[in-house]
Point group: C2
Chain length 234, copies 2
């Protein structure tokens, strides 16, 4: 089961390169499955494929896409270069998979966290904390995705990741809109408010490190509490 889930996403990423996914009879339903993010991909099994993805993510996070060579990845995983091509079509597919899994996880985590919240303020805070949890739990994956997602060469993969980022942003906008409607927030520019919070969260990829004094969750919460003060009426 864990391994089969991992084996589901790669053909989907690959399908955007012109190939059809081999595990599912229909392309349409698989991409729907992607966007709705019903489950996170398991990378904790000790399969080769997980290893490749995780080691690649570490390298991409530190050295960037261009700065990381196939030889680097092979050395980190402990296999020959040629072996990587047994699991992935090319280097771009490895990178696309890393980025896609990261965004998929983030979206899944946010949706799961939002279920337990009632007020709009709580929901904004939960949104930020889910983002922070993703940063701290999947640091290499997240940094690789955040720093390198505009290096995505394939336009189809890029479009799908963009679509997922759009729905990520739309979730926050919806929360703020609800808050305005219920009177919990004043009449404010929804786009601007959402973007301010997301900017703070995203910029953390540039300076936050796990060995620093504050946890990602703490910082995210404080950001939200500061900005949400500007959301309050009067």
């Amino acid at each position: 089961m864990p391994k089969s889930e991992l084996r589901t996403i790669v053909p989907i990423v690959r399908s955007s390169l012109g190939e059809r996914p081999t595990l599912d009879p229909q392309g349409g339903s698989t991409s729907l499955r992607m966007d709705t993010a019903l489950h996170p991909i398991d990378l904790d099994d000790r399969s080769r494929m997980s290893d490749i993805i995780l080691e690649s993510a570490k390298l991409f996070a530190v050295k960037g896409y261009d700065g990381t060579s196939i030889r680097d990845i092979a050395r980190a995983v402990g296999v020959a270069q040629a072996s990587l091509y047994h699991f992935f079509a090319d280097k771009r597919e490895i990178h696309s998979t890393v980025v896609t899994i990261s965004v998929e996880r983030l979206l899944w985590l946010i949706r799961e966290r939002l279920g337990a919240c009632t007020t709009s303020s709580e929901r904004v805070e939960a949104f930020a904390q889910a983002h922070a949890q993703h940063i701290s739990e999947n640091a290499p994956l997240y940094f690789a995705s955040a720093l390198g997602y505009n290096e995505l060469a394939d336009p189809v993969v890029k479009a799908r990741v963009q679509r997922m980022r759009d729905s990520y942003e739309e979730i926050l906008r919806g929360i703020i809109r609800d808050g305005i409607e219920s009177g919990e927030f004043r009449e404010l520019d929804v786009k601007l408010g959402a973007r301010a919070i997301i900017s703070c969260l995203n910029w953390m990829a540039r300076w936050w490190r796990a060995d620093g004094p504050d946890s990602a969750e703490t910082i995210a919460t404080e950001y939200v509490r500061l900005i949400i003060r500007g959301f309050r009426p009067e």
Copy 2:
């Protein structure tokens, strides 16, 4: 004079690679001149050197450091590859110069803009507007610097740019501290407040484009007005 100013900064950047700057007798005084940013570098003369810097900035901004080749730059400028090495020691020096000039300009612009302001709120707004003005006036330079400044290979250049970014951040922190002292702002976490504003400004490099509906200055002002609401007392 314009050209000579441009010819000042390059030896300074170069000096960090182990060479001594040739235009100034003392290394210490030149690096002091850099950090205090007494004047912006003129890139509007039609010299070869300005051309190389500006065309490189455009390419770095779009394709990144690794994605841009010496051949790309030479083609954009309209010279042979070998000619670039007449003005710069290597590719890294071109990139370092682009990034350094951008940060230098930003700092200079902020210091100039802050002179005309009185209240702390005005000063925070002026800070953000100076940043926005830099983005819109020097878009390629800024994007190249913002997206690629952690690709700086040379540790000495990286340290100097970091130092300039630190003093950039310290300016904003000082403004906020003054505002708290005078009672204009409540007792808030200065580091966090400054970081929130800077995050919004920096993240603009990822999504703002000159052909969009809003000017960079407008967006920056609205960000600040939103966040500053959370700075106000009670």
